[in-house]
C-alpha cells in the first residue's frame, strides 16, 4: 500500500499543467502526455486519477494501468511543478501507485513479461547469464580482482547490440586513460532500476541485496556504471538497502581523466547532446558529458531547445524501453527528440545511456532520417578522435 505520507499529499496537486512543459516552455516535455494528449496522461491527471482510484471513485482497469505505466519517470514534472510541497514526490507517488497496481495483478502484459524475464533469467532479454561476457570478446578487459573500480556493465550494455558497442567503447577508453578497473562478466546481474521504477519493489530489494553482498564480498568500493539507470539505482536506491559504494557514471570518471589522455586529433562534426534523465534531472550531472565533447577539437556542440534540466526524455525511462507502453507514432518522445536534434543542424546525437541509444537509434529510423543524422555514444566519438 502506498505510504501514508504520499497518500496525504495526493489532493494537493492543483492540476495546473506546469508539469506538461519544460521550464522554458518550448514544447510538451512529458513523454506520456506527448504521446496520448489526454489530460489523464499528464502528471497532474495521473495524480487525480490515483487519488480517485485509492478513494474508490474509479476502478482498477487496463486503461488505468496504461496511465500509470506510461510514465517514463523522467522527472520533468518534478522539475516544472509549481507546488513546492508535492513536486519532489510526484514520481515517488507514480512508482508507489504502480506497486499497488502490481499487487492487484492487473498490469499490462508487457510489464508482466518484463518481471517474468527478470525473475527467471535475471535480464529482460531472456538470455543466458553466461552471455554476459560476450560484450568483451576480443578486448583485453580484466576480470575484477581488486582494481580501483568495478566497471558495472548492466543488462543493456551486456546484451543489446548498441549497448555492447557502448560498453566496448567505454572500456577501451578507460584502458587508454589508464584507469584501474575490472568487470564481473557472467558473475554480474541486473541492477534492477527498471524493476524498481515499474513498482516491483520486492524483486528490486532482492536484486539490490544480492548485488550489495556480492560486491562487498569481492571488496569492491568504487563502481563505474555504463548506464545512468544503474548509476541512479546503486547511488540513490541501494543506500536504502545498506550499501556504501562510491558510484560514478562513466562520464564523470572520463571527464576527470580526460586531461591524462593522449593528445587527440580533430574530429570536425556538429553534435548535439541528449541528456539522459537518470543522469541529468535525477542526478544533476549535466556538465561532464558536455566537457568531454567540448574537449574534442573541431567538434561543435549545439544545444537543443530542451536541454539539461529541460531535456526531453528518449521515451525509454521507467521501464518503457522494455515494456513499450508508449507504443508507436510520431508523438513518441524519441521521434520528437530526433526532430528537435535535426532542427539544430547536428549530424550526430551524442548519448550517454544505452537505453537512450536504443530508443533514439530506433527513432532515427522511424523518422527516416538515417541520411541526415546518427546516434553515437560519447566515447565512440572520443575513440574516433584518438590518434
Amino acid at each position: 500500500m502506498m505510504e501514508k505520507g504520499l497518500v496525504d499529499i495526493l489532493h494537493r496537486c492543483f492540476r495546473c499543467g506546469w508539469c506538461k512543459l519544460p521550464t522554458n516552455y518550448h514544447d510538451i516535455n512529458c513523454p506520456a502526455y506527448l504521446r496520448y494528449r489526454f489530460e489523464s496522461f499528464s502528471a497532474g491527471g495521473r495524480m487525480w486519477l490515483i487519488k480517485a482510484w485509492l478513494d474508490g471513485e474509479i476502478k482498477t482497469s487496463e486503461r488505468l494501468a496504461q496511465v500509470l505505466f506510461s510514465c517514463a519517470t523522467c522527472m520533468n514534472c518534478v522539475e516544472a511543478c509549481a507546488i513546492p510541497h508535492i513536486k519532489d514526490h510526484l514520481v515517488d507517488i507514480f512508482i508507489a501507485a504502480r506497486q499497488d497496481m502490481v499487487e492487484t495483478g492487473i498490469i499490462p502484459p508487457s510489464v508482466r513479461d518484463y518481471f517474468k524475464a527478470m525473475n527467471t533469467n535475471g535480464n529482460p532479454y531472456k538470455m543466458p547469464r553466461a552471455d554476459r561476457k560476450k560484450w568483451a570478446e576480443g578486448l583485453n578487459i580484466p576480470a575484477y580482482t581488486g582494481q580501483e573500480y568495478l566497471l558495472y556493465i548492466g543488462d543493456e550494455a551486456s546484451y543489446d547490440d548498441l549497448g555492447i558497442k557502448m560498453s566496448r567503447s567505454i572500456a577501451h577508453l578507460l584502458n587508454e586513460a589508464g584507469i584501474s578497473f575490472g568487470a564481473l562478466f557472467e558473475d554480474e546481474q541486473g541492477d534492477g532500476n527498471e524493476v524498481h521504477a515499474l513498482g516491483e519493489l520486492g524483486l528490486f530489494a532482492e536484486l539490490a541485496h544480492q548485488n550489495i553482498s556480492d560486491w562487498n564480498r569481492r571488496g569492491i568500493r568504487k563502481i563505474i556504471t555504463i548506464s545512468p539507470h544503474a548509476y541512479h539505482a546503486i547511488k540513490n536506491e541501494y543506500v536504502k538497502h545498506g550499501s556504501t559504494f562510491d558510484v560514478y557514471h562513466y562520464t564523470q570518471v572520463i571527464g576527470t581523466a580526460i586531461l591524462q589522455l593522449p593528445k587527440r586529433r580533430e574530429y570536425p562534426s556538429r553534435v548535439t547532446y541528449h541528456d539522459p534523465c537518470y543522469l541529468g534531472r535525477w542526478n544533476r550531472v549535466y556538465l561532464q558529458p558536455r566537457s568531454i565533447l567540448n574537449s574534442i577539437k573541431g567538434l561543435t556542440l549545439v544545444e537543443m531547445d530542451r536541454s539539461m534540466q529541460n531535456s526531453l526524455c528518449c521515451g525509454g525511462g521507467g521501464g518503457n524501453s522494455f515494456t513499450d507502453i508508449l507504443g508507436t507514432g510520431p508523438d513518441l518522445a524519441g521521434r520528437s527528440r530526433v526532430r528537435e536534434a535535426l532542427s539544430t543542424g547536428a549530424k550526430i546525437i551524442a548519448v550517454a545511456c544505452p537505453q537512450c541509444y536504443r530508443m533514439l537509434d530506433d527513432a532515427v529510423k522511424a523518422e527516416n532520417a538515417q541520411e541526415q543524422i546518427r546516434v553515437m555514444e560519447i566515447t565512440e566519438i572520443m575513440n574516433l578522435a584518438l590518434p
Partner: protein, 462 residues
C-alpha cells in the same frame, strides 16, 4: 452514454487514439480545478485539424449531441465541464504556430497552442516580439484565453483585454461551416478586424456557445531587452485609485497590479502596487522609474507610503511571466485548490471591492488574496477575489462556494461584472442585463446553433 456507433464514427474521423470513453478520461474531463460540481462527458475527443473539427460538429449536430470545446481546461469556473454531457473537444493537439509577421506585429496560431509555447517560440525566433501573457500556467491556450476575455502582462499598456488584441479568427460554426473573420476573410494577411463589419465578437465571451475557434490571429508587441519592477507599499486602501491613476498617467508602466492578502503576516494590512517597467537601455529604464517615482513623490515624502526595496529573489518572482506564485496559491490551504471571482470593474471601485472581499471571507471563514490588474491604460480593472481551499475538506469547499456566490452578487452591486463566471454567476449577470440585450444574444445563438449543441447550460436564463 453515447452508443458505440457514434464512438465508432468519431474513431473513424480521428483515429482510435484520440477518442476515449474510458472511465479515466470521463473522470478527468468531468471536472476542473475549482469548486463546481462534476458532470460526466460521454466521450472526449482530440481533433488534429479544422476539417476534423467540422466532421465532429456535423456528426454532433445531426445526432444533437452537446459539444464542449476546451483549451487548457484551467478556467476554475467549470466552463469546460459538460453540464449536459456529450463530447468534450480537447483542442490541444491543434498547436501549430502558423505565421509570425514581424513587420505587422501579429501571430497566427492554431487554437490549442499554449501560451508557453508561443512565448518560447517568439523568444527563439523573434526575440524582439512578445505577446501578452496571462498569469495562468503556461499550458493555458491562446484561443481559450482570448475566448474568455482574458488579460495579462500587456493589458495595461497595450490595448486592454486579450480579446481586444485579436486580429482575426477561424471558426467552425455549430452547423459545421469553417469561416474566417477579420482581414484574413478577404486578403491573405491577418492584420486586423477593421475595416470590415466586426463579427469576431460573436465568439469572444460566449463560453463556446457559438462555435469552435480553430485559429487565432493575435497582436504582438515589442519585447524590450530590460525589465524591472517597482513595488509601492501603502497602508490606506482608499489611496489605491489615485495612486494607480498617477502611475497610469505616466504612460511608462507596462503592467500594474495591486494586491493585498493576510499572509504572510508581515504584509497583512498593507497593499502593494506592483509596477512593471521595460526599456531598451539603462538610461531609458532609469528615466521611466524616475518618472514613476516623481508621480508618487508626495506620498513617500510624507512617509505614509513608499517604494519597497525588492531583494533579488523576490524580484525574480515578480519578473517571472507567467507567475508560478499564482499556482502556488493553490497550496495555501494545503489542499490543491483555489477559485476566484475576477470582476471587471471601474478603478475607483477598488477600495470598496477590497473591503467587500475581506468582509465576505470573514463571514464565510475562509482566507483570501485580493487584488487587481489594470486594463487598457486605466479604463477598468480586473479585480480578483481569490479564495484557496482544501479540496478534501468538503465543508471548506462549501464555504468557498458560498463566498463565490456572495462575491458575484457584491461585484454586480459594486458596478462590476464577474468574468468567466460559472453558470450561477452567468445567471446573476443575465438577471441584471437589459432584456433586449439578452434577446439579441439568444437570437444570434439560435441562428448560429439551431440544434443547440454548443456548451448548453451556458449563458442561459435559469
Amino acid at each position: 452514454m453515447l452508443d458505440q456507433e457514434i464512438i465508432g464514427k468519431l474513431k473513424t474521423i480521428l483515429g482510435s487514439d484520440y477518442v476515449s470513453d474510458a472511465a479515466e478520461e470521463l473522470f478527468i474531463y468531468s471536472r476542473d480545478q475549482g469548486v463546481q460540481d462534476p458532470h460526466m462527458p460521454d466521450c472526449v475527443v482530440m481533433p488534429g485539424s479544422a476539417p476534423e473539427v467540422q466532421e465532429i460538429i456535423r456528426l454532433a449536430m445531426q445526432k444533437k449531441i452537446p459539444v464542449v470545446p476546451m483549451g487548457g481546461g484551467l478556467l476554475l469556473s467549470g466552463l469546460t465541464v459538460p453540464l449536459k454531457g456529450g463530447i468534450v473537444l480537447d483542442m490541444k493537439r491543434m498547436n501549430r504556430i502558423i505565421e509570425i509577421n514581424e513587420r505587422s506585429h501579429y501571430a497566427v496560431v492554431e487554437a490549442g497552442t499554449s501560451q508557453g509555447m508561443l512565448d518560447a517560440y517568439l523568444r527563439k525566433h523573434h526575440p524582439g516580439l512578445k505577446h501578452s501573457l496571462p498569469d495562468a500556467p503556461p499550458s493555458a491556450t491562446i484561443a481559450g484565453n482570448i475566448a474568455i476575455h482574458g488579460s495579462g502582462h500587456l493589458s495595461q499598456s497595450e490595448g486592454g483585454f486579450h480579446s481586444e488584441m485579436v486580429t482575426g479568427l477561424e471558426v467552425v460554426l455549430p452547423t459545421g461551416e469553417l469561416v474566417k473573420f477579420g482581414s484574413c476573410s478577404t486578403v491573405p494577411a491577418w492584420f486586423s478586424r477593421a475595416p470590415l463589419p466586426d463579427l469576431v465578437g460573436l465568439f469572444l465571451g460566449w463560453n463556446g456557445t457559438t462555435g469552435v475557434i480553430t485559429k487565432v490571429g493575435i497582436k504582438l508587441y515589442p519585447r524590450p531587452s530590460l525589465h524591472d519592477v517597482m513595488v509601492f507599499m501603502t497602508e490606506d486602501i482608499d489611496l489605491a485609485p489615485m495612486i494607480i491613476s498617477r502611475i497610469i498617467n505616466t504612460e511608462v508602466a507596462e503592467d500594474i497590479n495591486y494586491a493585498l492578502a493576510p499572509k504572510p503576516d508581515y504584509l497583512n494590512g498593507f497593499q502593494m502596487t506592483v509596477i512593471n517597467v521595460t526599456a531598451n537601455s539603462e538610461a531609458e529604464i532609469k528615466m521611466k522609474k524616475q518618472i514613476i517615482r516623481d508621480a508618487l513623490h508626495d506620498f513617500y515624502e510624507t512617509k505614509e507610503a513608499g517604494f519597497m526595496p525588492v531583494p533579488p529573489n523576490m524580484k525574480a518572482g515578480f519578473l517571472e511571466a507567467p507567475q508560478k506564485a499564482l499556482s502556488k496559491f493553490a497550496d495555501v490551504r494545503k489542499g490543491g485548490g483555489f477559485e476566484y471571482v475576477g470582476a471587471i470593474m471601474p478603478i475607483e471601485k477598488i477600495p470598496e471591492a477590497c473591503r467587500a472581499g475581506m468582509e465576505i471571507t470573514a463571514r464565510n471563514r475562509i482566507t483570501y488574496s485580493l487584488g487587481a490588474r489594470i486594463i487598457g491604460r486605466g479604463h477598468c480593472a480586473m479585480f480578483f477575489f481569490a479564495y484557496p481551499f482544501n479540496r478534501v475538506d468538503r465543508e471548506e469547499v462549501e464555504r468557498v462556494k458560498k463566498a463565490l456566490e456572495d462575491t458575484n452578487k457584491t461585484a454586480l452591486q459594486l458596478g462590476g461584472i464577474p468574468w468567466k463566471a460559472e453558470v450561477q454567476g452567468q445567471q446573476l449577470i443575465l438577471k441584471q442585463m437589459e432584456p433586449e440585450t439578452y434577446r439579441v444574444m439568444k437570437k444570434i445563438r439560435d441562428v448560429l446553433d439551431p440544434a443547440g449543441i454548443m456548451n448548453p447550460g451556458n449563458w442561459e436564463v435559469g
